[in-house]
């Protein structure tokens, strides 16, 4: 009996040992599996992080692209603004130069009371600032109502005759007081007194005292410019005043010397 029990106990012990062995084996397998799963999990985690970073990068790129686009647009805007400023600058510069020319012309016109010098300055302005090659300066004789040529450029004074007020292009310009400009500037062939390309009446308010008639421009000058029209306006007023003042001054000088002569006669 005890032998049977011992055998039974031995068998049970053997089975238990096998079972423990099996358990240990399973345990080992499970450990290995766990380690593998942990490894996989770790890898999945890393993959997930990298995906997040990738998405973030995409967002960043999109944001930077938008910023770049914005900057490009702003750059374009600034470039256009710069272009406008540059154009404005050139415009202001030209305007300044024109004003300087007008200032000097007017300053020179009023720098003397000598009639001959005033006439000389008018001629200089028309040659140098307007660029006329052939022109005549007429002065109105209010007694005869005739325009008398007093200075010429590019032709002899003897080639020019008096003009009746209201007659022809020059006479009409003097009578109406309005500037005349020929619509086209024809090729100059010969001097024809009543075919000027421009007539500028010299006026003090509404009173015409003379006319500048231009027949030909300098070779390099094809047409009148904006500045020329401003110079014509200036000449119309300032040249007239300068001529008138110089005339008055010379008359008063003459009268003064006559009176002085009388006084000297009476007092001596």
């Amino acid at each position: 009996m005890s032998k049977e029990r011992a055998e039974e106990f031995f068998n049970t012990f053997k089975k238990t040992a096998e079972f423990v062995k099996e358990l240990l084996h399973d345990n080992e397998r499970l450990r290995f599996q766990l380690a593998r799963l942990e490894e996989e999990l770790k890898s999945f985690k890393n993959k997930g992080e990298s995906l997040d970073a990738h998405a973030e990068c995409h967002q960043k790129i999109a944001r930077l692209e938008a910023e770049k686009q914005e900057l490009l647009e702003r750059f374009k805007e600034v470039e256009n603004e710069n272009k406008n400023f540059a154009e404005k600058y050139v415009e202001v510069e030209n305007e300044n130069n024109n004003l300087a020319n007008l200032y000097i012309a007017s300053y020179q016109l009023h720098s003397t009371l000598n009639f001959k010098e005033v006439v000389q300055i008018i001629m200089e302005i028309v040659i140098n600032l307007i660029g006329a090659e052939i022109f005549v300066l007429f002065i109105l004789d209010e007694k005869t109502n005739e325009l008398t040529p007093i200075a010429t450029e590019g032709l002899e004074l003897s080639e020019v005759t008096n003009v009746k007020l209201g007659k022809g292009t020059i006479g009409k310009a003097a009578k109406t007081g309005e500037n005349y400009f020929s619509e086209i500037i024809p090729m100059f062939e010969s001097f024809e007194q009543d075919l000027p390309i421009a007539c500028i009446p010299l006026k003090i308010k509404e009173r015409t005292i003379g006319v500048i008639a231009i027949y030909k421009l300098l070779l390099q000058k094809e047409r009148f410019t904006e500045l020329d029209y401003e110079l014509f306006t200036l000449l119309a007023g300032h040249a007239a005043t300068a001529i008138f003042s110089a005339k008055l001054y010379s008359e008063s000088e003459r009268k003064l010397s006559t009176i002085q002569g009388f006084i000297d006669l009476l007092t001596k």
């Binding site: 510069e93 030209n94 130069n97 300087a100 020319n101 000097i104 012309a105 300053y107 020179q108 300055i121 200089e124 302005i125 040659i127 140098n128 600032l129 307007i130 660029g131 090659e133 300098l218 070779l219 390099q220 000058k221």
Partner: protein, 125 residues
């Protein structure tokens, strides 16, 4: 004291004023005026100039004669010369440049054009 001396030889006082007025806009520039070629030569011999602007049609001595005489002077062999004139024909321009002028501008001259030519010849900013 001005570091650039410019001589303007022009018989028309109005034109002279205009040129002087334009040149005064440049920094450190001193401008001397002469009314004809002879006057210009006198001033050139009494001073040292960095640039000369001259008209062609002038009394006593014209601008072309002045330019040719100036170029014979060793002191002014390399001084830039600008001719500013009413003579716009190509042969006049050629003559002026052949005689020794560095630039040939025709009247009515644009102030900006004159200034840029001066700056270019004097290598100014």
């Amino acid at each position: 004291m001005a570091s650039i001396n410019i001589l303007v030889v022009e018989d028309s006082p109005t034109m002279r004023q205009l040129i002087v007025f334009a040149l005064k806009r440049l920094k450190d520039v001193s401008v001397t005026e002469a009314s004809d070629g002879v006057d210009g030569l006198k001033k050139l011999s009494n001073n040292k100039f960095d640039l000369m602007i001259a008209d062609i049609n002038m009394p006593i001595m014209d601008g072309l004669k002045l330019v040719s005489l100036v170029r014979q002077d060793a002191k002014y062999k390399s001084m830039p010369i600008i001719i500013v004139t009413t003579e716009g024909a190509e042969e006049d321009k050629k003559r002026g440049l052949t005689l020794g002028a560095n630039a040939y501008l025709t009247k009515p001259v644009q102030t900006t054009q004159l200034i840029s030519t001066v700056k270019e010849l004097l290598k100014l900013q």
